[in-house]
């Protein structure tokens, strides 16, 4: 990894280890990125659960309605 930026400087990272070290700020930078990624994942998981719950509830109401219709027609 070593290519030139627009200013003609070479890339910051010479190795993967250097990248993950973040110039000594690893815990702060990765703590920010990591917790943000976890927060998004948790929100998407909760949303998925909410959708499944809402669909289940709608299906339940639909079957109740069908039952109700059958009972009234007989």
């Amino acid at each position: 990894m070593g290519w030139a930026t627009e200013r003609g400087e070479t890339m910051t990272w010479n190795s993967a280890a250097e990248f993950f070290a973040m110039g000594g700020y690893a815990q702060y930078v990765w703590g920010s990125v990591g917790v943000s990624a976890i927060a998004l994942a948790v929100e998407l998981f909760l949303l998925r659960q909410r959708r499944q719950g809402a669909l289940l509830q709608s299906k339940h109401e639909l079957t109740l309605e069908r039952k109700g219709l059958n009972e009234s027609s007989t």
Binding site: Y28, S32, A39, E43, L62, E65
Partner: protein
């Protein structure tokens, strides 16, 4: 001319929202990848803050979104209050959890940035305190709505709270000008030349765009859940493929 009122009922909006979500979801992923690449591989090391400044590529976009979502939420709450439209109130409710999440991330990434640069996780200054108040406003909005059983009354009460709280947004935004603070000034301004390298600005704007598209996708997915929860008894819900199955 598009007839906007046609899409303002839950019945017509539900499928429309569903067809828009994938586009915003894919767009969010692609811009986030591009933004992270620019921010972490192309942007140069900062002269003063070394690599620690790279928190900016998360911190600024989530902070912008925390404020922007609140304004949009208050807007829909106001529309719901003024026109008594169900869908606008549902939209406001759908935005609150995502706004709260971005506000939490703003405070979290801010603390992780403040510790190495200022020497402290937290100070009770205007910018940080008003952002914390924003988090409390989101939580209060959600708590108030869930405490009221009747959805229509919950919408109204939440809308009043959201509208009162909107006064906090200019306070957050201008706090760095009005009061002495450790927090630096605005990163981007329309009235003066950008103070940062173009490549850093590009990375930040890409991440902001990703956060915006993520918010649109998630808010639309959540409003679809709210529609199902509230209109589950309606005949059109029973005719949906995902319900019939």
């Amino acid at each position: 001319m598009i007839n906007w009122f046609k899409y303002s009922t839950p019945r017509t909006f539900y499928p429309l929202a569903g067809s828009v979500v994938p586009w915003f979801a894919v767009g969010a992923v692609l811009t986030a990848i591009a933004g992270l690449y620019v921010g972490f591989f192309m942007a140069p090391t900062d002269a003063q803050q070394g690599e620690g400044y790279r928190i900016i590529f998360v911190h600024v976009p989530v902070s912008w979104m925390s404020m922007f979502i609140y304004v949009v939420m208050a807007f829909w709450a106001a529309v719901g209050l003024a026109f008594n439209s169900r869908l606008s109130a549902m939209m406001a409710s759908a935005l609150a959890p995502t706004g709260a999440m971005f506000t939490f991330l703003s405070l979290w990434t801010g603390a992780l940035w403040g510790k190495p640069m200022w020497g402290t996780w937290w100070v009770w200054d205007a910018r940080l305190t008003s952002e914390l108040i924003l988090l409390f406003l989101y939580i209060a909005f959600m708590a108030l709505q869930s405490a009221i059983d009747d959805p229509r009354r919950a919408d109204k009460a939440g809308a009043v709270l959201a509208l009162v709280g909107v006064v906090n947004i200019p306070i957050i935004y201008f706090s760095v000008q009005w009061w002495n603070t450790l927090h630096q000034g605005a990163s981007v301004s329309l009235t003066r030349a950008p103070s940062m390298a173009t490549i850093m600005l590009v990375g930040m704007l890409l991440m902001a765009l990703a956060a915006w598209m993520y918010t649109v996708a998630v808010a639309l997915m959540r409003v679809r859940c709210i529609i199902l929860e509230r209109e589950g008894h309606a005949e059109w819900v029973g005719q949906l493929n995902e319900v019939k199955r």
